[in-house]
């Protein structure tokens, strides 16, 4: 068979050169890429790497915090464990009386798998979540932490709600607690100071849920006038690879009339938005967004952005404005053209999930006008990125200046071990920063070292305690706080910070 003998070396050469070409693509983004060039309003975006045979991956082993270990903070700050022995704390929310709700949850089970790859991914993600062997502790609960004497130490603790469907965001107004579950928003009657909730939940509105529910965390914020809820819904895929028919009502932020439950899409093209919060001065909605993976270790940077009404932010068709993602078919040039470039890039794969503005808190001056961003940490790049809480300075309601890492030590890079993973952030009833550490099962409190506290608690949504700007509807006026709340609910919220008296 002389003919086939002749063609064999040619075929061999073809397959070898093919492998070489594929491997060459993998080299394009390696080397000394400066991560800081992807922080700020105008990030450096390398060429996307579409053919990465074995995408870089590095999942640190979760080892937790040993007795006495804490994250690290710079001079002028002190860090303490606010609450321990929690089970996957994801978000923290401060009520008008200074009580703190800790939402603890795990991803919903029963996620369908479409491809061989999904089985491998499931295994990697279970490593990232930690927990090890053996039965896992019950989570999906909301715990109330109370510090009535405002000394920064929790005095009592109650599990308010248990057995929820993977809760994440919460909001409180008018004696009503709104909870964003993995498939919708429900409400419970709840008066400040109560230590239990026995009432059945009432459905406010449904949001896109399972069975897939890939990015399942639904965050929640209350509009500055207290009438509307804003709920985030993450995408059902990395880059629409499960089909656009599974992306209806996803990768978006919804606006919900909390009285009627009527909802509409407020903004879209946001792959996995979390940390919804209105800027205390400008009244603009802000969020942190997890961008897409598998285009190389330095694409696509996660970002912090203001979210404008009816804005489209690119996903899945493009990123950072008009950078087209060639993986997505059919293409939508009309949408790409309209895609908005986000405000502030945070660098790639940091998994930004938490956001809190510091105006009105009791943080030292250098952190008093900006935002903290919680970064849960990377798993899909060789070199770790994230695993920290950083500060973005603001001026005139916009990010202004370089991001600074403030709370670190969640990762032990040498040992490739993970002690904790910061997710949701908040300001507690005394004006200190709270960090929900999902893998470390702890809420950390970072306070000014001089012990200063706010005059009055600052609630997360800043509505119920706000000065009545437009008291159109008397029914919306805040109910007086009950129990041993140190201040009543009608106290104006813009507290001036001052050092604690000696």
């Amino acid at each position: 068979m002389p003919r086939s003998k002749l063609s064999l070396p040619a075929l061999l050469l073809t397959s070898i050169s093919l492998t070489a070409v594929l491997a060459a693509g993998a080299k394009a983004q390696d080397g000394d890429f400066d991560i800081s060039s992807q922080i700020g309003p105008d990030p450096v975006l390398p060429e996307p790497r579409y053919h990465d045979l074995l995408p870089g991956m590095n999942v640190g082993e979760v080892v937790g915090w040993k007795e006495g270990e804490t994250p690290m903070v710079p001079e002028g700050l002190v860090v303490t464990a606010y609450a321990t022995d929690l089970v996957n704390p994801r978000t923290v929310h401060t009520l008008p009386n200074g009580d703190v709700l800790v939402v603890q949850s795990r991803s919903p089970e029963g996620k369908p798998k479409f491809r061989p790859k999904d089985y491998i991914r499931g295994w990697i993600m279970s490593m990232a979540a930690g927990g090890g062997a053996g039965p896992q502790k019950d989570t999906n609960l909301i715990t109330l932490l109370r510090d009535p004497d405002r000394d920064g130490v929790v005095d009592d603790r109650h599990d308010l709600l248990t057995g929820l469907h993977s809760p994440f965001g919460v909001a409180w107004i008018d004696n009503t607690l709104y909870v964003a579950l993995a498939d919708g928003v429900v409400s419970y009657p709840y008066a400040l100071g109560d230590t239990e909730i026995t009432a059945e939940p009432e459905l406010v509105t449904l949001l896109s849920g399972g069975p897939l529910n890939h990015h399942w965390t639904k965050d929640l914020a209350l509009s500055p006038d207290g009438t509307l809820l804003y709920a985030s819904v993450g995408s059902n895929s990395n880059a629409a690879e499960n089909g656009m028919e599974l992306e209806r009502g996803r990768a978006a932020i919804f606006e919900i009339d909390r009285k009627t439950g009527a909802s509409r899409m407020f903004a879209s093209g946001l792959r996995n938005p979390n940390g919804l919060m209105f800027h205390p001065e400008t009244g603009e909605l802000w969020a942190v967004i997890n961008e897409r993976d598998e285009l190389g270790p330095n694409l696509v940077p996660d970002y912090l952005t203001s979210v404008i009404e009816d804005g489209f932010y690119g996903w899945p068709y493009s990123y950072y404005g008009q950078h087209i993602d060639e993986r997505v078919r059919p293409q939508r040039p009309d949408l790409v053209q309209a895609a908005i470039q986000p405000d502030y890039a945070l660098s790639s794969h940091v998994a930004a999930l938490g956001l809190v503005f510091t105006q009105g808190s009791a943080m030292p001056e250098e952190y008093a006008n900006g935002a903290f961003v919680g970064q849960r940490g990377s798993w899909n790049r060789e070199e770790f990125n994230g695993y920290k809480v950083s500060y973005v300075p603001f001026r005139d309601g916009k990010p202004d200046g370089m991001l600074q890492d403030v709370v670190t030590g969640f990762l032990l890079p040498e040992e490739e071990q993970v002690r904790g993973r910061p997710v949701g952030l908040g300001i507690d009833g005394t004006g200190a920063l709270l960090i929900a550490d999902d893998a470390g099962n702890t809420v950390w409190r970072v306070a000014a070292a001089d012990g200063r506290v706010t005059e009055a608690p600052v609630e997360t949504d800043r509505v119920a305690t706000a000065e009545p700007a437009a008291p159109a509807d008397p029914a919306l006026a805040p109910a007086p706080a009950e129990g041993e709340a140190p201040t009543d609910g009608a106290t104006p919220a813009e507290p001036s910070t001052e050092p604690a008296s000696p």
Partner: protein, 144 residues
């Protein structure tokens, strides 16, 4: 005792472990079907076809891998003289298919076009060459 096929009487005795040929045929069918579903994806951009391709490649690798195992068993049991060119081609086919399933693990259009469907085509071409070689070895009088 391997089954005796009268069609091959007079040829050098070539036995194989029962199941090896079946599994080899399965692998060939899976890899060929993957080329078809890749093509269907490029025409429709319906993700289902891409998922099918991934599973077909996966199934082809499993059955092809088992066929290799049985061939190794046969080598020990029957002590036949292997056709090394066919062996090499079979290994190459599995290697290309494995590479292809890594390419197919990507997301969306670029997981298929151009490398995914290109490697599926290459796999099929290699399988045709391998089949031709085996046929020639079994029927040397048809060489001419």
């Amino acid at each position: 005792m391997a089954p005796f096929n009268p069609a091959y009487s007079g040829l050098p005795y070539r036995a194989s472990v029962p199941g090896q040929e079946t599994l080899r045929s399965f692998a060939a069918a899976f890899f060929t079907a993957a080329l078809v579903t890749d093509w269907a994806y490029t025409q429709t951009v319906i993700i289902m076809w891409q998922d099918f391709s991934s599973w077909l490649l996966f199934a082809g690798l499993i059955s092809g891998g088992l066929a290799v195992l049985l061939w190794l068993v046969g080598l020990l049991v029957y002590r036949g003289r292997p056709q090394w060119l066919v062996v090499f081609l079979s290994v190459l086919i599995l290697a290309v298919a494995f590479l292809n399933s890594l390419v197919h693990a990507g997301d969306g259009w670029t997981a298929i076009v151009p490398w995914g469907i290109g490697l599926s085509l290459l796999t099929c071409v290699l399988m045709v060459i391998s089949a031709t070689l085996r046929r020639t070895a079994l029927h040397p009088h048809q060489r001419a």
